[in-house]
């Protein structure tokens, strides 16, 4: 089976090794015998068709680059909202999460209308919240690990991805819920390759992709052992750290 990924703005929105989310998802499916095609979407390029994609992805970018991405991404608004409605899995990592909300206000107070897939609003400031994050989700019992590197407060998320945050920054402040999860739309300001860092989250997303094609996801194989071992070390480090506080 061939899966089609659509990667929005791979150069513009490419901070903190975001791209590795796609790499590891691709490998997870390839190890199960499938093939993966990744279509890049560049700003200004003719708008392609999204309805037959299996997965949409956008990574983190600087606040200025995020606005450039937003300016182009708005033309996909109807298509992305329809895809979300249809249950297409998608991940918006880092500052890309903010594009899904109703608006983004930059540090100077300028308001940028966003996609409006969800009602939340993001307000950026001149303070940066940089810290390790240790939290939990309702999707599986294992803790979620990651790193926060943002300057926004996100208000109005009703269905967060991390329903509890034991350490670090969430949507509205320290130890508040983080990210956004509705249907098969996943979004999180946790930076970097959160699917590499959290093998259970990777399985969750990969499982959805498979189910939509009437397949079941085979258990992770040998190729996933390093990520599993790395997760165990980081989860232990962060657990100790969060208990110390």
């Amino acid at each position: 089976m061939e899966f089609r990924f659509v990667h929005f703005y791979p150069d513009l929105m490419n901070l903190y090794g975001s791209y590795a989310n796609l790499s590891v998802l691709g490998r997870r499916l390839e190890a199960a015998g499938h093939t993966v095609r990744v279509d890049r979407v560049e700003p200004g390029a003719p708008a392609g068709e999204l309805s037959d994609a299996d997965f949409l992805f956008m990574g983190a970018g600087t606040e200025r680059r995020q606005k450039a991405a937003l300016a182009d991404f708005l033309r996909y608004g109807d298509q992305v909202r329809a895809a979300a409605e249809d249950g297409m899995p998608m991940l918006f990592a880092g500052t890309a999460m903010e594009l899904l909300g109703a608006s983004i206000t930059d540090a100077d107070g300028t308001v940028f209308p966003a996609l409006g897939l969800a009602a939340f609003t993001s307000v950026q400031g001149r303070t940066r919240f940089v810290e390790d994050v240790y939290g939990g989700t309702d999707l599986f019992p294992e803790p979620v690990v990651g790193f926060m590197n943002k300057c926004s407060r996100i208000e109005g998320v009703e269905t967060p991805l991390l329903t509890q945050v034991m350490m670090g920054w969430g949507n509205t402040g320290e130890r508040t819920p983080e990210g956004f999860h509705c249907g098969n739309v996943f979004a999180s300001e946790l930076t970097g390759p959160l699917l590499v860092k959290n093998p259970r989250l990777l399985d969750e997303v990969a499982g959805i992709l498979c189910r939509r094609r009437g397949l079941s996801l085979s258990p992770a194989g040998e190729e996933s052992r390093w990520a599993a071992a790395g997760y165990a070390v980081t989860a232990e480090q962060l657990r100790l750290r969060s208990e110390k506080r």
Binding site: Y19, V24, D132, V196, W226
Partner: protein
Amino acid sequence: MFLAIVVCKLLRVIGKLVGKGSSLPGQFALKLCPDVLARVRLPRHIIAVTGSNGKTSTVEMIAAILRADGRTVIYNAEGSNQIEGVTTLVLANASLTGRVRGDVLLIESDERYAARTFRFFHPTQFVITNLYRDQLTRNGHPEWVYDAILPALHPDTQLILNADDPLSSCFGRDREHVVWFGLDRWTGSSDVPGGIYHDGACCPVCHGPMVYDYVHYNHIGAYRCTVCGHHRPQPDFAAADLDLERGVLTLGEGVTIQLAFRSIYNVYNILAAYAVCRTCGVPADTAAGVISSYVLKNGRMQTFTLGSHHGTLLTSKHENSIAYDTNLRYIRQQAETPCVVLVIVDAVSRKYFTSETSWLWDIDFDQLNCPQVRQVILAGRYCNDLAERFSFTGLPAEKLQVCSSIREACGLLLAERGGEDLYVVTCFSDRDKLLDLPDVKKEG
């Protein structure tokens, strides 16, 4: 001001006796007289250096050149580069009437705190080496650092900028008297940007697509935005040619420099130091003479033996993919016979706690996928994250060894009798964990 100077000098003397840091005396002085730095009479030349990579090396080289030219240089070799440390430095070298002795005050400035440091006085020359992805767990991202430096740049300050870096060159937009340094095309230049990510793909000014005439490494080279025209300015101090094999750097003024460390990394530090010293009136041959006989003192490269292996440790800042990429390229170029490479990530930082390993995905480890690299050993607490990253390179799995401790990696190397060259890539936070092991014998 008098009291602040006396207190600062006294605390400095006591601090030296008990081996305490150099920022505390300045901290007290600032409490007594918050604007003391505006009241003292500073030397004619005040040179500040900031940027992501190469600050310390550049500052050390500038000090050596200026001293060779007969100037008295006040600078902080201990590297306390926030306002408190700078205050200590300035007041410790001031008379009781507030006249700072010396011809040049030389300051290595932390990127994020430069605006605070230069609130009460401003540099006559400000060198900005580059702005790369560096310690993002502290710094956010390069544009965030750009915005932090911007308010530190007084209109009267002369900027000494890297023409080849598309982001830090933006500091020179709409400013007069900017001095540019850069490297022209040489045999090692390529046509397209390299590395895992392409920070040069989009213009930092308008986000339009950028094109390159040539690239020296990653996104550093001759860039041009196809939309707004932001482009590499013509350098005032250009290196016309570079021969890394013979270790010769040719500067535009008919000056050649013998490179002590044959890495392009070093070339930009030299260019920055040369440009600012020439701007301050140092003759070309004095500057070139110092640089040619200059050996880096900060121990970035350390040779040693470990069992039958001869080792070279290349210090690469963790969380800094360009530092890593440059050292990986150096290994690929230098290694002729089969060699072993040891990559250590045990503590991400020596200054703060983090388990953040996203930066590993920004490093081009595929450079080690070459016949002369026989084996790669990954070691330290984050060896699994390294192994996961390496599993996405072209390196065959049989070339990889994963060790959860540095001691284990050391034991593995000791057991081998092959005597191959060993290259070690790691950060200041982890290097001594290897170099201090009993089986490791450091060389001069």
